[in-house]
């Protein structure tokens, strides 16, 4: 098997917003270097494009960095560290942020945030952000793109990440990209669940690759459900629907959120109240309504109503055009005249590759940023619009740090690198063998179902144990998986199989991390341990892969610099708690 070689200084895998931001930062830090930017899809296809609502950044005078810090940390249930955004720079690169009449950038409210600080570009924020970054990246000759190249493995020599092995999807040929530093920006992993808001490419590849090389996956039990998604497809109706004043009602037309500590009912949208409470609370409230039989029945199971009718046709067309289009085309429902049936679906992986504020991991030379990483800002529950800001902030820091590191790195021997790369290629080749036993689609379906059953909105010891067992069995069956396609040109079935292998590993890390956390916190809610337990679990979980068998789960202390743990309350109770603290 022939492996081509490309020499770069920094290699970045993933060309979503995180990867692109890192590439630009690296190219700006040192224009003479070569920055290889690898992506299994063309950059503008990356999943960042699906983000609708906006990105958090403090612009209003009445707002402050401290307030954002408080909201982020409180939203994350005291598992967070800090930082905030560089959205102005993106504006300077041409992003069409929505504007006020005087020409300044406009901001909107978002769930779990007290002040309006979410920058948005109509309801296509992610798409505009991604395209702006991609287009801006084109002006840097230092950036050499490898579009539609698939990450197979990291190449590690002498305990230092030295590059990556990739396959060109169009030809099936291997390339070793050598570099002094590697940045993983491969996005989330929610496709391991059945019903979810994410695109088909969100399969946790980078997480699995880092994990295989001994880097811990942190806080993997925290998986965010988004409360307002389309039944069946899982497509998302952005939080902005609620920011603009959308209401959630049950089968009796009753705004049920007031029964779950988010009241009292407000006439106008009010931050941290009712529909603008955090996602985990809203998803959990749905679950309770379902238990009480107060949801409605749809063809894909129980639903509640997202009611936008009172906003009127003009406002809907101006502020939420894409939402209206989705509802009309996919469901045949016009939000102007009818409420939209919705239910929660898996949306975001809060956890990821354990990394510090520069994106550096425990493996020298390896960085991780974006949704595939866990730099600690989301804790147990990410707030809407914080992750786009995260991509930019940490993308930039990692791009700069990786450049510095690559400059200092002493080159590894070319033979050692090539030998490593060739060895790394073997497992992927091995998938292309003749025997016909396990089908990819069967394994994938079983994995997604067991994750939903065992690690859903509410979890129990028994459900999670069953999931762990099923995953172990699936991992066994995966050894016999079959790829029927034998060609080398655009063999998408082969890549699907490799992705499935990645997904199974990530799913195991999630399930075992969840099983071991015997408390309820943020997105991790257990029926058998309903309370938060700071004494034992005010800690990050770390999942380490074991060669064979279940991952090992360890814990790491949370770095609490400014805000001590307190009750996490919203609605009127939230105001009371805040008043109490100030007193």
């Amino acid at each position: 098997m022939k492996v081509r070689v490309f020499k770069a200084d920094v290699v970045i895998v993933g060309a979503g917003s995180a990867g692109l931001r890192a590439a630009i930062a690296a190219a700006e830090t040192d224009a003479t270097q070569t920055v290889a930017l690898v992506s299994k899809v063309y950059p503008m296809r990356s999943h960042t494009c699906a983000a609708e609502g906006g990105a958090a950044g403090v612009v209003d005078a009445k707002d402050s960095l401290d307030a954002h810090f408080y909201d982020t940390v409180a939203g994350g249930d005291w598992l967070c560290e800090q930082d905030v955004g560089e959205l102005t720079r993106i504006e300077h690169w041409g992003c069409p942020w929505s504007r006020r009449d005087d020409g300044r950038v406009n901001v909107r409210p978002f769930g779990g945030m007290k002040n309006e600080r979410t920058w948005f570009a109509a309801d296509r924020t992610g798409m505009h952000l991604l395209h702006t970054l991609f287009q801006t990246s084109l002006k840097y000759p230092a950036i050499r793109r490898f579009d539609e190249y698939f990450l197979i493995d990291l190449v590690v020599v002498d305990g230092h990440a030295r590059g990556v092995l990739v396959v060109e999807i169009a030809s099936g040929e291997y390339t070793l990209i050598e570099a002094g530093a590697v940045i993983l920006a491969t996005g989330g992993a929610t496709r391991v669940f059945r019903e979810n808001t994410n695109g088909g490419i969100v399969t946790g590849d980078g997480m699995a690759v880092a994990y295989r090389h001994g880097v811990a996956l942190r806080d993997m039990e925290f998986v965010q459900y988004h409360p307002t998604c389309m039944p069946g497809t899982g497509l998302l109706f952005t939080e902005a629907c609620r920011g603009e004043g959308g209401l959630l009602t049950n089968r009796d037309g009753y705004r049920y959120l007031q029964d779950y500590g988010l009241g009292p009912v407000q006439d106008a949208p009010r931050n941290k109240f009712m529909e603008l409470g955090p996602r985990d609370r809203l998803s959990q409230a749905f679950w309770h309504e379902m238990q009480k039989g107060r949801t409605l029945d749809g063809p894909y199971g129980p639903v509640v109503h997202l009611d936008l009718r009172h906003l009127g046709a003009a406002r809907l067309a101006e502020r939420l055009p894409q939402i209206c289009e989705l509802a009309r085309e996919f469901m045949g429902i016009d939000p102007v005249t009818a409420p939209i049936p919705v239910r929660p679906a898996v949306h975001y992986t809060m956890g990821g590759i354990n990394a510090d504020a520069d994106g550096a991991t425990t493996l020298p030379g390896l960085f991780a940023i974006g949704e595939c990483s866990s730099v600690g800002i989301h804790g147990a529950n990410r707030l809407g619009s914080n992750s786009l800001s995260e991509l930019l902030v940490f993308g930039r820091r990692a791009g700069e740090a990786a450049t510095r590191l690559a400059r200092e790195a002493t080159p590894a021997s070319a033979e050692a690198l090539l030998a490593q790369a060739e060895a790394a290629a073997h497992p992927s080749r091995a998938l292309l063998r003749e025997d016909d036993r396990e089908r990819i689609a069967d394994l994938r379906r079983a994995m997604a179902q067991t994750m939903e059953d065992g690690c859903g909105i509410y979890r129990t010891e028994a459900s999670m144990q069953a999931t762990c067992d099923t995953l172990a069995e699936l991992r066994e069956r995966f050894r016999r998986v079959t790829v029927t396609d034998r060609s080398s040109v655009w063999n998408s079935e082969w890549f699907t199989a490799i992705e499935l292998g990645y997904q199974l590993e990530v799913a195991e890390a999630m399930a075992h991390s969840a099983l071991n956390r015997r408390e309820s916190r943020g997105a991790h809610q257990r029926l058998d341990f309903e309370a938060r337990d700071d004494a034992q679990f005010l800690r990050h979980s770390l999942a380490y892969r074991q060669a064979d068998g279940a991952p090992q789960i360890r814990y790491q202390d949370v770095n609490i610099t400014r805000l001590p743990p307190a009750v996490r309350a919203y609605g009127a109770a939230g105001l009371a708690a805040e008043a109490g603290e100030k007193a």
């Binding site: 899809v41 041409g94 009449d101 088909g200 490419i201 469901m331």
Partner: protein, 251 residues
């Protein structure tokens, strides 16, 4: 009750086996909300793992899944089986070389996007500390629609001039160019003029207009192309005169 099924005819091409493309029929169960993309995924998962196609977001925003469906350029994820009588034909995007099955070679298209210098060349340099550029909603509305392009390539599959002359820059890339030219923060119109006026530029367009008719994001690339004919003509005749303002946009 037996679920309804529909025949989906797919144009297959495997470069290592087939001399040229051929049609293959698949029988697919469907409901009211089954998209063509869902049908293709069903085929891949249950009937034939060797069928290749691009997709990701399922919600008409990533621009991956452009195909000829029923003979017209469409996004597979927002085209529904319910809208077709009888057999549904699915073929790789017209005017692009077929790499394999429903996957086309995008290299040339991407190169054209790169070529139009689609980045903000600030009229006035500004540091992030100085805050944002002011831009009124009015100014933004001039280019906003062109910024909605998702690079899906449907307009290239619609435009016969692209098929006849692969050198033609094409509607999507020109829409992108126009987007920056119309941005009040940008001062790069003059630099991009060379491309518009070149032999590969706007004058290859004969105002067929199908590009705008198929665009899933209502970008109206035909307008971008044709408005730039006027800009280019103005540049052609008045290029020797001193220019009053750096902004080349016509509005």
């Amino acid at each position: 009750m037996k679920p309804q099924t529909k025949t989906v005819a797919v144009l297959r091409y495997r470069p290592e086996q087939d001399k040229e493309p051929f049609w293959q029929d698949y029988e697919v169960p469907f409901a009211e909300d089954t998209s063509v993309l869902a049908a293709l995924n069903y085929i891949k998962d249950e009937l034939d793992g060797t069928l290749s196609f691009r997709w990701s977001c399922r919600q008409a925003i990533c621009g991956s899944c452009g195909l000829m469906i029923g003979g017209k350029p469409r996004l597979a994820c927002k085209t529904f089986l319910r809208d077709f009588e009888g057999k549904v034909t699915v073929e790789a995007l017209a005017h692009f070389p077929i790499e394999r099955d429903l996957v086309v070679v995008m290299d040339d298209f991407i190169a054209k996007l790169e070529r139009v210098k689609p980045w903000l060349m600030p009229r006035e340099e500004r540091a992030p500390e100085d805050g944002e550029y002011r831009q009124t909603p009015q100014e933004m509305s001039l280019y906003e629609q062109f910024a909605g392009c998702i690079n899906c390539g449907l307009c290239y599959a619609a435009c016969p001039q692209v098929g006849l002359n692969p050198n033609f820059l094409g509607p999507g890339a020109i829409a992108l160019l126009h987007r920056y030219n119309l941005d009040s923060r940008d001062g790069g119109s003059e630099e991009r003029m060379k491309l518009i006026s070149a032999e590969l530029g706007v004058f290859n367009c004969t105002a067929v207009g199908y590009c705008s008719a198929v665009c899933p994001k209502i970008v109206d690339p035909a307008n971008a192309v044709n408005v730039n004919k006027m800009n280019s003509a103005r540049d052609y005749f008045f290029r020797f005169l001193p220019r009053p303002a750096p902004k080349g946009g016509c509005q």
